[in-house]
Symmetry: C2
Subunit: 558 residues, 2 copies
């Protein structure tokens, strides 16, 4: 039995004009700003006009710790959205945009897979509607204005050794990680060390994804710390007077992008903050807009539930006043097997014992999600080699945890395969049994917030931090930043900081290497391990094989 590739399926999609997709949500064609015939932005004026409407139900899709087997979190997000529409519900999907640069290193990604995808796939892997380019421009305008300020006399008395605002480019370019800039003598400024990050790592990206509207956007941009003086006092972007122009550059990018699933259901694809040094969710404005237009909104968060769902709850929901009605934890039989110790090459053979053993990872995620007061459903994303006995093993395990696991075949069958999942998810959402609360209060001291997450979510024994880190957190509390949530940056492969510790480990400490303040985005980044904010290209980058073929189609990108 031969399966079609994701790109084959995506190219065969019977796309409808984007105006028809908008109509399903009550957006008139005047309120859609089209980008070609299959993409559009929803106008700010329309968004303003629906603010008084009631909200739909918010459904979060998260997952177990990722394994090389693949879990299909986005695939399930899309499949569930289509499934809800199939059973007669008015539903929309909200996911993140892809970063352009990495697609020229490794192959670009689909948004979903099989018969649960969002299209147009090529555009979403290339320039899309230009949002990331706008973020790059806004970020680099601020950088140019900082050096320009120093050049013309440095009235703000910036310590040129302490300019923390780097530049960004949406490209995997290791040569730019660390540079010396302003060389070449007097006309080029004062030489200093700096570097580039990839665009998704920009605080501007995180802000775009958390801002409620353009006014909030500008305030947050102005609040970003760009440098320090010799006395260590901070210099803000608003001191550089860059916040207004940055907002102008971002005004179109703030409008959410509407596209469609293979089944012509509405999907918002907007924003894409780095899931390591930021919160890794699609934009608040897309999610809140979708909630005004649909009765059910299915969204997702980066990595496993220990990272993605935790930040979704403690950062995005807290900041935006959102509350999920139900959480879907995606698992696969294959991933259970890997968590149970099976090598990737052996995943094809039935191994009920390994599935059973690997379920411990899933079990802890279920427990964690419940601790936010939200009901949980497990979606078993079906793979062709799964046996009935293996699937039943997962179902039995989940039932023993007081939850429910449903097999879903959206990858193979589209919404026909996810109707059962959708039916049950809708029932739970409609039951209004959720009683969501973030894990910690705003007032809790910063270090205690870190400990709370490490102990309650990761199940660590302790948090290990130098006095320097503890003092830094105290300083920020004294400066008025103590109310901020913490944004954890650690490996996605384990509950611990050791990527090889699969399953449900205990008896470990969480070492903190560094803390950073994102004053505009509004969180304290807590770094537990190496973070690479500018990737490199592999020996043979996929760019070498990317080209237009004789039909004008893109080859090699997928």
């Amino acid at each position: 039995m031969a399966f079609k590739t994701d790109i084959q399926i995506a190219r065969e999609a019977a796309k409808r004009p984007i105006q028809e997709i908008g109509e399903k949500l009550g957006i008139s064609s005047d309120d859609l700003l089209p980008y070609g015939h299959d993409k559009a932005k929803v106008s700010q004026s329309f968004i303003d006009s629906v603010q008084d409407r009631p909200d739909g139900k918010l459904i979060l899709v998260t997952a177990i710790n990722p394994t090389p087997a693949g879990e299909g979190k986005t695939t399930t997000t899309v499949g569930l959205g289509d499934g809800l529409n199939r059973i007669g519900k008015k539903a929309a999907v909200c996911i993140r945009e892809a970063s352009l640069g990495p697609n020229f290193g490794m192959k670009g990604g689909a948004a979903g897979g099989g018969y649960a995808q969002i299209v147009p796939m090529e555009e979403m892997n290339l320039h899309f509607t230009g949002d990331f380019h706008a973020i790059t421009s806004a970020h680099n305008l601020l950088a140019a204005m900082i050096d320009n300020h120093i050049y013309w006399g440095n009235e703000l008395e910036i310590d040129t050794r302490r300019v923390v605002w780097r530049r960004v480019v949406d490209m995997n370019d290791r040569a730019l990680r660390q540079i010396t800039a302003s060389l070449g003598g007097v006309p080029n400024g004062f030489p200093r060390e700096s570097g580039f990050d990839i665009t998704v790592a920009s605080e501007v990206m995180a802000i775009l994804c958390l801002a409620k509207n353009l006014t909030d956007l500008q305030e947050r941009l102005g609040a970003m710390i760009v440098a320090y003086r010799r006395d260590r006092s901070p210099v803000y972007a608003r001191d550089i007077k860059a916040d207004g122009a940055m907002t102008v550059l971002l005004k179109d990018a703030m409008q959410p992008n509407l596209v469609q699933t293979l089944e012509n259901n509405p999907a918002f694809v907007h924003g894409g903050p780095f899931a390591n040094i930021a919160h890794g969710c699609n934009s608040v404005i897309a999610t809140t807009t979708a909630l005004k237009l649909a009765d059910y909104v299915v969204t997702e968060a980066g990595f496993g539930a220990d990272l993605g769902a935790e930040k979704f709850m403690n950062i995005k929901c807290r900041k935006a006043g959102l509350a999920p009605s139900v959480v879907v934890v995606v698992a696969t039989v294959r991933a259970m097997k890997m968590n149970g110790g099976v090598a990737k090459a052996d995943l094809g053979a039935e191994n009920v014992e390994a599935v059973q053993k690997g379920c411990a990872n899933l079990g802890r995620h279920i427990e964690n999600v419940k601790s936010f007061g939200v009901p949980v459903v497990v979606a078993i994303n079906h793979f062709v080699t799964d046996t009935d006995a293996e699937v039943q093993t997962v179902k039995d395990y989940v039932a023993a945890q007081g939850a429910e696991a449903i097999l879903s075949r959206h990858w193979e069958l589209g919404s026909e395969g996810s109707a059962d999942l959708a039916t049950r998810v809708a029932e739970i959402a409609d039951g209004d049994s959720a009683n969501f609360a973030p894990l910690y209060a705003d007032e809790m001291p910063l270090f205690q917030k870190i400990e709370t997450i490490a102990k309650l979510i990761y199940r660590a024994d302790e948090v290990l931090a130098d006095q320097k880190v503890r003092n830094q957190l105290k300083d920020w509390e004294e400066q008025g930043y103590g109310d901020l949530p913490v944004c954890m940056a650690k490996t996605q492969y384990s509950f611990s900081t050791d990527p090889d510790l699969r399953g449900a480990p205990t008896g470990f400490g969480v070492p903190i290497r560094e803390v950073r303040l994102s004053a505009g985005a509004g969180f304290v980044v807590v770094i537990c391990g190496e973070i690479m904010t500018m990737p490199g290209l592999p020996r043979v980058p996929s760019a070498e094989a990317i080209k237009l073929n004789a039909d004008g189609d893109v080859e090699g990108l997928f």
Copy 2:
């Protein structure tokens, strides 16, 4: 009498949906890729489908040497286009796109002025349809792939001191002019000196504007020289295998952008190569497409006729097989006065003698344009302080040169003011009296091409060049680049290389500082003076005042 500002007039424009504008040229809405409601790209498939149609008449608008008084070349281009439509002709306008970066230094520019403008003005000064961002991405992908190639073993044996491919950003950022990259140890590569240019200075931009189609684009991209080996042999972009992926990044950007004039007539705004180190015209694909769709196409070329029209004729027309039917040289009474020695502050007072004296500059441009075998009309772009006597002085002078000067009031009156100019221009174009030929043959040696332009156009006595420059030109001839045209880079303010030498100077030499080979674009750049390929921001950049006001309109950009 109070006049409205350009931005006030632009905001009051009664724009029609872009599909209606397309209809005027026979482009169906399926063949337009909309970007919002007032911008669209013309699909490549539609462009392919009209290739067998006959061409309309091509009209070039050029000008005297620019003065601080302003000449209104773009304003006249737009006014003439509207005038032609007013008198019942099917006409389209083709102009260049604006660069985003410089707008945050000095105020952004309108496309035209008064009642002869192209809209939407804000978008055209910001991200527009993303073409420049695509060029930036393609350029920087190649840069990343070069350093990545060196990092992984440098099989091509690139001399890291001789990597000539820099990076680009669409921002005025002097701190990036000269940098040391790849610092930080083994994981970041081999440290080397490099730097950034502004995006419009990229050879990729020049190529996008000269390529006939996507196949031609990819070939030219592959032919770019990116580095040299220790034996001085060139390494090409195709050796790095970047040409396919760059073409994919540029495939949408290659499609011309359609917008409209204030009078709802079609305008193509596409491409914008740096007029100094490149040829400074809008894209060949926009011009050739417009010629298939309209009976008259009005376009322009950067700076005065000595630079812009010369490169338009000798580079763009030669390469694209284009031939203008008539050339309009724009002059103003005020600019004549400045050329005649009047200071800017005194331009308001009548001064027939200064006008008479300043006409020498205009006279030489008329003579030069005629030397290409194309008939000339002078458009006197009317300014409110012009007196009848001053206007008559210009008319009499031009008549004595065997040409015709027509007063045009499009700035104040729109097409009502340019109908006379349009009528006469159409008559001349219809008369088919042009017998266009470039100034020199492909086979002429490179140095002789430079001498031909310097002596026949600039009226210099001699060209001054070191043996090193002459040897370099000889080397390129031996390598097969002798057939290329030369792309002159000199001050736009004078026929000479001294910006203060106004009027029609004689008795000077043209010193050549440097020559550069743009092997992909297909010309040899001849640099006569300083060229700044990365501008800086002023002490108080306009960005400080740019913001969204309470109505959501952009303030401070204009």
